[in-house]
Symmetry: C2
Subunit: 670 residues, 2 copies
């Protein structure tokens, strides 16, 4: 009791373990030039598939409808401007990295937040499926073999990504930057050179599809039907916006001033996206590129067995006609940024899971980092579901994209609603006229954002619901309900643990029982340790499973220098658990206010197969003893020499997504 | 220290829990009339397939060779007489139920014992495969549908048996008796009535195969080739001996005088087997029954699509021609006793496993009964391997039987060698002339047994090795090596635990650490319990995974009436395990002679999914802490209300095979 009684008031002390100096964290923060590629690969990569989807939808109405592509792309660009402007407000108001989930939860309540959470979880899955499928299409445009085995290629790529992330590779912002910059530079060069060829050199370049005609499914569409088609093209084009919200989740990883740097990065992201999107659409129109659902049926004039190329590949093929490395560079960069976008989801999924776990919507252990198992489960889950989607939809980007955008816009809309509320609430208390003016201005921007994103959401729902969006919505609803149930369970448990009437009484005495099977060093140590805790009663018990063994044990015990009495418990049915439980129950009946501690010697081993050979009965017994009230179970480990090899495993683990959470580059971590 | 110091000498006391009165055990002992069916179903059921295998092998040499069937059967009967006489000596000399394994281990050393153990394990697997396949064939003789889907039927039957045994049904000797007696009576009546029809009523009854001719594969076999064929037929016929050893494993389950009762039961078993075997072969010959490998090719005169019936079914069909219920009765009884024989293996396999585990050839927990998981693993393993064999050999009894008998005769031969040694050893010290005479006599019997079984083993090996026996031998060798390795591992660990130089020193002081995440009843109880153990140092620690949570915890802690200091450990990477391990290591470095106890509050829950939601971090941490020397880990359980439903599960479990080990019928067990 000596030291314990001295301390009569609770004290706290902040222990800063040497390897854990918080000031080190600054080292891992990202400069803008690295933050852009790290957070923008997802949004930027969507430029690889959004334009061709606009072409594809419009081509349903025949060649003439393709004239509308620049206007649809412009509409998408306008939405992009508005969304980027809105999110620049978000990163200033919520710099903690909670993103849309935080904005919705704080301003609209937990249900709105959970809706955003469900939408984003589904989105991450679809990001993997869509990005990988698009990567396969782009690689397939250069290597026909991949195009012929698209689904297998996608499954292999997802498995590879999952394996890399399970392995816990150390991420490096600079390495991640390469594909993104390569993509931006490659596509920009292609666009510039293409327009130079057309408008300055006056060389007539043409897509390989330029001479084909489109067999319109619905010719001469008029009125509402045509508007509906334009709306669908617009919805598909809005896929270009997926991933814009990523930066708002990553503010803490930016260098100071964090919010301002994040906002400028967002601006750059928006600018690049719009330039690439519009550039691709305009160039494609100039060179007469076409992209249809079923090339074999819909393209008149195409040769037998014609393999349709991805839109970017068509452009690169036409522009770099006489310069093959250019074509391969663009194709490779496109495939790489798409793979990177999928990898982003593998990073973001566990991070979002940890945020949801913090609010008890998912199992608690997901919250703590460095928990390899929790991260692994998330990664395996994400990979499996993404593979299911890829296989079910035959790795067709066009089909998968029907499911994709609804989640993004649910999240956008709720987030903007939350931001409007946020400014309104702050305006109620703010008195400084300059600050008020800025807030009013922000509120206007977010209001426009809300109107815009809500409109797009409605358009998307109207034009895509039956085409597949219902699957995404169903998945969101299921996740929402599941997370609600988990939350409810945690709340119930918490209530159970906070009942005040059941006051915990101080146990009067301690009764310690050491479980013995044979007399060896591990047993002796257990007895000594048990004695060191100075219990009021200390006894050793053994279960008589085998008469011969028991007799030997008893005589050894008597011959030894151990002064603790050994009781033999009969077990005619050669059981262990039952007699021990019965004995413990009897001890407890006789002195109900005692706390009983059962000491179990346990071997610590280094191989899984050793675990099968040892401790099984002890583990089973331990599991059962925990069900008895008033009983503590103490494991007294005995480290077998083989355990050395595992001793420091799992202590150094780099979780995927560390870079995005400013946890990546610390050299002390490895 | 009070009570502990009073007790200075180790004392022992035999605690007899009320439900465990050993005198109750007498109630479950088996009278001979029940013991016969319980232990003889395996041996008796082999009469269902042994005769037809003799016919099958001989038919290779054409119709004329079938004249030798009675002589081959007679040879098998002679072996049966010798083996039964030998095992009658075994049960007198080794009444403990260790069977061949014990006899071989005691007299020939552990390697011989382990060989027997491996052989018997393989045998149990093949018993399941052969018995179920034969049951399918017999049922198929009455219901063609089963015959057409034989493999599926067998797999389903094995899964069913496994499920029944996993469930832990209560066995009743009387229920087990029905199929065995039904089979004996049914077949006897069939034989008697058949011979009456032929010899007394002079009615010419004929098998449906009587008018077919056999297309001999090798006509006019002469010399060594013919002897070899006869030898092969004899080997196959020896399948009738499988299961005879079962009674020697079951002596403890007999009523007193155990050995004498077991010996008379063995006599009855032998008598019935011989009568049935010879009767079936003679009757089959009288009515011209035939049994060939490929009915479609080998039977001349058979109608298109003729489905060959099992031999017993052919007899029953011919004898009860005008009395269908008789046919169905014999077919049902045959199928049932074969199922029972397979069930026997499901009982015997874990029992043998427990004996091998006692000698540390298999994981230790297999030794304790009432360990549902250990038994379950054994049952699932047996079922899986049996299914593999059944599927691989297309549920063909003839093919499976090539693998079957080698194990049995390995076991027979080693056991008889052991018995000869046993008597020789005892004769060295025995002086009483009467006892010596008896021992000499026993030794002669066992010597004859040895010569006979060794001869059969050689014949079996010569005639069956390439036909499939090599697979069984390979399996035995693998098991032998595996069990040797397990034994070696246990021996190594034991040496490690008995090193005398590393004397365990009494720890000087105790340092207790309570792990806290939130302040609620479970935490409070953990602190109170930890205080009750009166450590020299007591502190609570919490890992700062989330600043907000930690601040809340600290202020609650200060406001509470807990007087134990709370330390906050920094964890910038949001880890739990690593900071705690580092802290514990530091404490240990500072005071190396202290024993550290880490108290972890743990929720006890009632559903597997609750386990996912709780304790995961605690469990992970616990697992890691055990690797640290000088650290004990104490679980302080908090039983959530949902845990009630599991509280008494697994305490009342009847393991399969209880009847055979005299553990079955105790009414207090449930």
């Amino acid at each position: 009791m000596s030291n314990v009684s001295k301390v009569s008031v609770a004290t706290k002390r902040l222990l800063l373990g040497r390897p854990f100096r918080s000031d080190r964290l600054g080292h891992t923060l990202l400069p803008k030039r690295i933050a852009l590629p790290v957070f923008a690969s997802d949004a930027m990569s969507s430029v690889a598939y959004a334009p061709q989807e606009i072409f594809l939808v419009l081509s349903v109405a025949g060649l003439s409808a393709l004239a509308f592509t620049p206007w649809v792309a412009l509409a998408v660009a306008v939405v992009m401007v508005v969304v980027v402007a809105s999110y620049r407000q978000n990163v200033h108001a919520y710099p903690s990295g909670g993103g849309d989930y935080e904005v919705a939860t704080v301003n609209l309540g937990p249900n709105a937040g959970l809706t955003v959470g469900s939408a984003l979880l589904v989105d991450y899955i679809l990001t993997v499926a869509v990005s990988i499928s698009s990567a396969a299409e782009n690689i397939g445009s250069a290597i026909p073999f991949v195009s012929q085995h698209k689904v297998w290629f996608c499954v292999a790529a997802i498995v590879l990504l999952a394996a890399v992330n399970l392995r816990g590779i150390k991420e490096s912002g600079s390495v991640l930057a390469i594909p993104t910059y390569a993509f931006i530079i490659g596509v920009l060069l292609m666009l510039v050179w293409g327009f130079i060829e057309i408008f300055i050199l006056d060389e007539p370049i043409q897509s390989e599809t330029a001479n084909f005609t489109i067999r319109a499914e619905q010719d001469h569409l008029v009125g509402i039907a045509f508007v509906f088609l334009i709306a669908r093209a617009f919805s598909s084009g809005c896929a270009a916006l997926t991933g814009v919200e990523a930066i708002s989740n990553g503010v803490p990883a930016f260098r100071k001033p964090k919010s301002r740097n994040a906002a400028s990065t967002l601006f750059m992201l928006g600018a690049f996206s719009i330039v690439l999107l519009l550039g691709i659409v305009l160039l494609a129109q100039q060179i007469g590129a076409k992209y249809v659902m079923n090339p074999a049926q819909d393209l008149i004039g195409a040769p037998e067995g014609y393999q349709q190329k991805a839109m970017i590949a068509q452009l690169a093929h036409a522009v770099f006609d006489s310069f093959t490395p250019g074509f391969y560079f663009v194709a490779t960069a496109t495939a790489l940024i798409l793979m990177l976008a999928a990898n982003t989801a593998f990073n973001g999924f566990p991070v979002l899971g940890s945020v949801l776990a913090q609010d008890r919507y998912l199992p608690r252990q997901l919250h703590t980092r460095g928990d390899r198992l929790a991260f692994s489960n998330g990664i395996v889950f994400l990979a499996l579901v993404a593979i299911i989607f890829v296989v079910a939809f035959g790795a067709e980007v066009t089909k998968l994209i029907q499911l994709y955008i609804v989640g993004v816009f649910v999240s956008f809309t709720l987030s903007q609603t939350g931001m409007v509320r946020h400014w309104t609430r702050h305006l109620r208390t703010e008195t400084d006229p300059r600050a008020r003016r800025k807030m009013m201005q922000s509120r206007v921007i977010n209001s426009i954002g809300l109107v815009m994103t809500a409109t797009v959401l409605i358009v998307v729902l109207l034009t895509k619901f039956t085409a597949g969006a219902w699957i995404a919505i169903l998945a969101m609803v299921c996740l929402f309900v599941l997370m609600k149930l988990i939350h409810h369970h945690y709340a119930t448990v918490q209530r159970e643990l906070e009942r005040q009437e059941e006051d915990v009484v101080l146990p009067s005495r301690t009764h310690s029982i050491v479980l013995v099977s044979t007399l060896h060093l591990a047993t002796k140590r257990a007895v000594l340790y048990a004695r060191a805790t100075r219990p009021d009663v200390l006894e050793a018990i053994t279960v008589n499973v085998d008469d011969r063994d028991t007799r030997k044990l008893v005589s050894q015990w008597e011959a030894s220098d151990i002064t603790v009495p050994l009781k033999v418990i009969a077990s005619p049915y050669r059981e262990i658990t039952r007699p021990v439980i019965e004995y413990v129950r009897r001890v407890r009946r006789e002195s109900p206010r005692d706390v009983i501690t059962v000491f179990i010697p346990e071997y610590v081993v280094g191989h899984w197969w050793e675990q099968i050979l040892h401790n099984q009965s002890a583990l089973r017994l331990k599991g059962r003893l925990l069900f008895e009230p008033g009983v503590m179970v103490t494991s007294v480990p005995w480290q077998l020499t083989s355990s050395d090899r595992l001793k420091n495993r799992d202590l150094a683990y780099t979780a995927p997504g560390d870079t995005r959470r400013a946890l990546g580059g610390d050299p002390d971590r490895r």
